[in-house]
């Protein structure tokens, strides 16, 4: 029955967002969870190849189109919406929940869109709804960061729209299909828009600018949706674009380098999103079936463990009000469960055997090795070293160990722990039983993660990274600084631009108007009635006749009679023409 009715899975989330504000307070969080479960169910019930179409002007929109690739991304988006909902069960405001539902809906919408118009629609909805999650932190910093975030995303959206318009005009179709590498200007424009959302440097600064300033639960959703939806679009439209290999590897290292300098724990994690997405982007660039499977699997794994890491950092922020390494330390005894769950995420992202990072990262790296991109392989290994160094060692060490705690954490809300446990469970599950994930991957390539060489190289890398960290750990201590990134390009010159462009444009037209007014004034004086100017001569004779105050009603003619006459004429004309 359901197969005949392919309801788009995102419909439930949008519906949930609409009814949530009118529900009683007690029911809002359960409703959040229920709608995300429903959408998850439909991601699974809708059969492959099902389509949901509506006519739109002279085109047909494909609101929902199901295939294996969409299903994998759809599943993880719905799953993380649920887990994030559990995590934020007690701490999210209604506005945040509505925004999060819309955000999840738009991520699903992008995933199932069959045409560019639908894609663009959800793309923009994604930008707007996620901005709310930044603003909802309600600090001055987050307001400004939110505006910057939104503007940058709408800029990316404009690139995408420009590409879509050009593509539509050229080919006459709005259907989504893969571009040949280096195809056309429209493909490059679309790639630009998608690359911005995938946070490919130099278009990445919005991510590390906004995510550390988002709300505690909001950051969990942010870490999951925007970049991974962009990765999905890359897999769908740009497989095998060579340039993406170089950019992917660059990203993987870029995030690592900046994470060394970052002091805010969520900023470290944000830079590591860039690093991890680098693997996926490189995988798309390689473009073999194995690498695309690897990208898909890594996106799936990444969403899980990155959400878990952000949840852990969120608990620290929520319970202590602090998020800087320089202000944290020694919290292990106060929150052992949080630490343990965080470490599951950290082991996963670092690619420890038996955790889900191991089974997906290996796929991308060995796809690169198979395609003989040797430098890329080594650089990705290096990024992997950096990942373990920061998220697995530096961050937990300086947050939960190092010196004695000066912060007094409040009790961790149980809902947060439950949310973390759910995600941690899946991190371990897919690590132990990778076939659960592999079976659903869209492309036809098999991969066996648990081989001796893979285990050997992983063990060696991790053990010696740890030793190196332990020896040099004092160099990694947080510092009270911020790091310049490409957002400098639009943050620092803002004032100059404001002065030179905005204010000067206004000043120019004001001046033009003043000149015009002066000219008119002079002209009226010159060309006006000469009599008043001679009046001064006869002042003493004529000055006595000052007229009384003007009384408008006295000067009014009996209007009603005139108008009645006009109306009568109207009537007469009408009657005459009827009579003819």
């Amino acid at each position: 029955m359901i197969s005949e009715l392919p309801v788009p899975p995102w419909l439930f989330l949008i519906g949930g967002a609409l009814i949530l504000p009118v529900l009683p307070k007690l029911l809002r969080s359960p409703a959040f969870l229920l709608t995300s479960l429903l959408s998850m169910a439909f991601v699974w019930f809708i059969p492959e190849g099902a389509r949901f179409e509506v006519p739109f002007a002279s085109y047909t929109l494909i609101l929902c189109q199901m295939d294996q690739l969409s299903r994998v991304f759809g599943t993880i988006f719905a799953l993380i919406a649920f887990a994030g909902g559990v995590y934020g069960f007690r701490v999210q405001s209604t506005g945040e929940q509505v925004a999060a539902l819309l955000y999840a809906a738009s991520a699903l919408g992008v995933t199932f869109a069959g045409d560019y118009v639908t894609l663009f629609f959800f793309w923009e909805l994604m930008a707007v709804s996620s901005t709310y999650l930044v603003w909802a932190r309600r600090t001055v910093e987050s307001q400004r960061a939110g505006i910057r975030y939104l503007l940058v995303h709408l800029f990316g959206g404009s690139l995408l729209l420009a590409g879509i318009l050009l593509h539509t005009v050229k080919t006459g179709t709005i259907l989504i299909s893969a571009f040949e590498p280096d195809a056309s200007a429209s493909a490059w424009l679309i790639l630009g828009g998608v690359a911005l959302n995938a946070a490919i440097p130099p278009l990445h600064a919005w991510l590390v600018d906004a995510y550390p300033r988002a709300t505690v639960a909001g950051a969990v959703f942010l870490s999951a949706f925007t970049t991974k939806a962009a990765v999905y679009v890359l897999v769908r439209i740009f497989p095998g674009w060579d340039i993406l290999i170089a950019f992917g590897v660059l990203m993987a290292l870029y995030g690592v380098v900046y994470a060394v300098l970052a002091n805010d724990i969520r900023e470290i994690l944000a830079y590591h999103i860039i690093s991890q997405v680098g693997y996926m982007v490189a995988g798309v660039g390689i473009g073999t079936e194995m690498s695309l499977n690897g990208t898909t699997a890594h996106a799936f794994s990444h969403i899980l463990y990155k959400a878990l890491l952000f949840m852990g950092a969120g608990v620290v922020l929520h319970t202590t009000g602090r998020s800087k390494l320089t202000e944290l330390g020694g919290l292990a005894r106060a929150m052992p469960a949080v630490l343990a769950l965080y470490m599951v995420g950290a082991f996963s992202i670092s690619g420890f055997p038996l955790f889900n990072g191991f089974i997906s990262k290996g796929m991308v790296v060995s796809a690169a090795a198979e395609a003989h991109f040797e430098i890329a392989v080594l650089l990705l290994h290096l990024a992997s070293v950096g990942t373990f160094l920061h998220t697995g060692l530096k961050l937990p060490y300086f947050t939960w160990f190092a010196e004695e705690s000066t912060a007094l954490p409040t009790k961790t809300p149980p809902s947060m722990l439950v949310g973390m446990s759910i995600v941690a469970f899946f991190c371990a599950l897919f690590g132990i039983a990778p076939s659960l994930l592999y079976r659903h991957l869209p492309f036809n390539a098999s991969f066996e993660p648990y081989t001796i060489p893979h285990l050997v190289e992983t063990t060696q890398l991790l053990v010696f990274t740890f030793m190196s960290f332990w020896v040099f750990r004092r160099h990694l201590r947080g510092e009270f600084t911020i790091s310049l990134d490409t957002d400098w390009l639009y943050r620092k010159p803002a004032r100059v631009v404001n002065r030179s462009v905005v204010l000067s444009a206004g000043a120019f037209f004001d001046a033009a108007e003043r000149i015009a007014e002066t000219v008119v004034k002079q002209l009226t004086i010159i060309l006006g009635n000469p009599w008043p100017r001679t009046r001064g001569i006869f002042q003493h004779e004529w000055g006595a006749n000052v007229p009384a105050a003007f009384e408008p009603n006295a000067a009014r003619p009996p209007m009603e009679k005139v108008i009645a006459l006009v109306l009568a004429c109207f009537l007469l004309a009408a009657l005459l023409s009827v009579a003819r």
Partner: protein
């Protein structure tokens, strides 16, 4: 870090070396024939990341926290 922590780490490393020698595999890449390559890679890579980034930071990337506030 207690002694047994270090012991188990060394044991792990030794085990991985043993596995590498005992179960030879196809030498796909040049590093496959270097024994313990990834030990060195991990250690040196970590060093490179720390000091390269810190050098960049000191050079120009790191600024005061109120760097953007004076706008």
């Amino acid at each position: 870090m207690r002694p047994w922590h270090w012991m188990s780490l060394v044991l792990l490393a030794a085990l991985s070396l043993f596995a590498e020698f005992a179960m030879p595999h196809d030498a796909e890449h040049w590093w496959s024939v270097v024994p313990g390559f990834f030990m060195l890679f991990g250690f040196v890579g970590c060093l490179v990341i720390i000091f390269f980034s810190k050098a960049l930071g000191k050079l120009f990337l790191q600024q005061d926290e109120d760097y953007y506030d004076d706008l």
